[in-house]
Symmetry: C2
Subunit: 382 residues, 2 copies
């Protein structure tokens, strides 16, 4: 086991009706005026907005609401909302939505207290020194952003999908009510499953030293996500399945599955970020294409772990069988496994490679992910 530091101060409020107390949580932190961020107008139609408004009013918390954040959230929108946050002098950000709204909110929280360009934080030109406190009500379980200190934003101009990380960006309180997630479309459910599996396997396969206990924790997440996804496809109202899915999602990227392992990387995310940046494919859908393609190329580098994966997740023997079974499962639940499903053609390869090579440098793994290697992986995905 490798040395590590673990610290995660986010308070989780999990379960039915928890959103009704959001105002209380803000009040306890002495918040007087908050910027409420959201995505589509759906939260106004389904009553969530009213619930939040009522709770904020009851606790005498002033708020300004700004919607319109899209999935694969973009920098221009972050800029727009940072201006509002500065102008309105809010004390905190309250994100009401999924990972895209929350990631944008984290960037806004850092940008609102920074005189320069918030993109500086993403390209390593500046470190986050302060940030507004972040609260959130999660409406889609996938990214794990509700219990970590990272955020991913796409710069539409430069086609860069980049990330920030800072201990200042842990949400103070995250509300996770699985009932709010039952209207998620079947497509987004299975994309989310792929995202959670991707968060689980990056460290699992790329770290060469991997404690058995951590393996077991990760396998618990993957099995839970696969089983509950199948239940939810047929019965979206199954609260318990929805709840286990959501909590597994949180645990897949709250740091606990990445402790004690040796050096690791995020190659699947790296490749997917290029696909999202260039073609705006849904993040999880991109990942379900990338994972089998990457695994087929990578498996010989960590054969024992791939065999373990095959055995523990699918009760199969060989590395190949495990990878094939995962790909078959993606096909079965209906998340893409080939680039052609996004209408990306083999003639796009050079364009993707150009973005990918820059990304490989950004992810610190350009020595491994050379043009040749990336071409091989992309070919596996065509």
């Amino acid at each position: 086991m490798q040395n590590f530091t673990f610290y995660n101060p986010t308070k989780i409020e999990f379960g039915k009706d928890k959103e009704k107390e959001i105002g209380t949580h803000l009040k306890k932190c002495n918040i007087k005026k908050v910027l409420l961020t959201y995505g589509s107008e759906r939260i106004k139609k389904d009553g969530l907005f009213d619930i939040v408004e009522k709770s904020l009013n009851e606790n005498n918390i002033e708020f300004i609401a700004v919607g319109g954040i899209v999935s694969n959230p973009v920098l221009s929108k972050v800029y727009e909302i940072i201006s509002i946050a500065k102008e309105e002098k809010v004390d905190a950000i309250l994100s009401v939505g999924g990972g895209s709204v929350l990631d944008s909110s984290k960037a806004i929280a850092a940008g609102a207290l920074y005189d320069g360009d918030v993109w500086d934080f993403f390209i390593g030109k500046a470190l986050v020194q302060k940030a507004l406190p972040i609260f959130d009500i999660l409406t889609l379980a996938a990214t794990g952003s509700e219990m970590n200190c990272g955020a991913v934003i796409t710069n539409e101009n430069t086609k860069q999908k980049y990330a920030i990380q800072s201990p200042l960006l842990y949400p103070k309180v995250s509300v996770i009510n699985p009932e709010l997630m039952k209207t998620i479309s079947k497509d987004y459910l299975v994309y989310s499953a792929a995202d959670i599996i991707a968060h689980s396997i990056e460290g699992y396969f790329t770290a060469t030293i991997h404690p058995t206990y951590i393996n077991r924790q990760i396998e618990a997440i993957i099995k839970t996500v696969m089983q509950t996804t199948e239940i939810l496809i047929h019965n979206p109202d199954d609260y318990n399945a929805r709840a286990e899915f959501a909590w597994a999602a949180t645990n897949a990227l709250n740091g606990l599955t990445y402790v004690g392992i040796s050096e690791f990387s995020y190659p699947n995310h790296m490749i997917e970020h290029s696909l999202s940046a260039l073609y705006n494919v849904p993040h999880g859908a991109g990942l379900s294409v990338v994972m089998p393609a990457w695994m087929k190329w990578y498996k010989s580098k960590n054969e024992a772990q791939f065999k373990r994966f095959a055995k523990e997740i699918f009760e199969l023997e060989t590395a190949e069988e495990g990878i094939d079974a995962l790909e078959a499962w993606f096909n079965k639940v209906g998340t893409p496994t080939k680039l052609s499903q996004f209408n990306i053609q083999i003639s796009d390869t050079d364009k993707i490679l150009e973005n990918l090579l820059e990304n490989a440098q950004y992810f610190g793994i350009k020595e491994i992910y050379t043009k040749d290697v990336l071409t091989k992986i992309l070919n596996n995905a065509f």
Copy 2:
């Protein structure tokens, strides 16, 4: 899944040499003067004390050291050290030792800022309103106290082994260096294993609603502890096994395995606390006696979960087989499974029952654990 709140702000510094930076962690929290608590003089012989002293000196942190805390830590010692803490006006407590030193330190941290009797907190007469910040260097992995907000102390006069819990008692920073644990005796290793297994199974068996994902997390802990115990019995220097054992211990009682489950209780701890309070048996050894006895009585109340336990931990079929296998494993590794091994005789039953009935009330489960029931469980242990 049941509604829950999860919050755990302890920073974990895990791994080799991490104790060398203890002064830095205190300094970051603006600590100028600290009370260093410890158990036996072993930490002076093996060099740990010198390392801590050096790090505190380097960071200009004044300290007073008080040793002599024993396992099954006692209230009189807590009183003694609270007086010193008050007199010396320290800013923080630094626990260097195992769970007993740490639990005492938590009680001292609360008592040092309280005008009344610290035992008030244990008997529900007062709530902890403030506490000195707590730091620790863990030298024995078992209780999980390094990442939770509870502490257990024995009042020698009243023969009560009682607990406190308060969010103010989460350690700020816990240093867990598995290398510091390699000199633990074989006896204390296997007692610790029993303690960790007990922390794992209390909620697992007593909650009637238990999410599969949480089951899997708990099973991961139990399997890891059993496997690494067997390795460590034969090779105490196996760092990786020691590290996995330690991290599994932390995770068995940091709250994560108790979220989302329905109402649960700690009957095994309840019974063991009476044994410790009356006969000063090592906590883990007491638990390895209590668990099979309790399980044999309890199994019909949650048959499905006992069958799951048998299958997942031992690849066996029936509830009985699972319980027998656990008892056999305790015997194999050499932790007691019968009261006679502590020289406790059947003629002691009434004395134990008297303490136990008071304990059952304290644990809030006196309706279930009547004199009849407790007699049956004790009989299973004779």
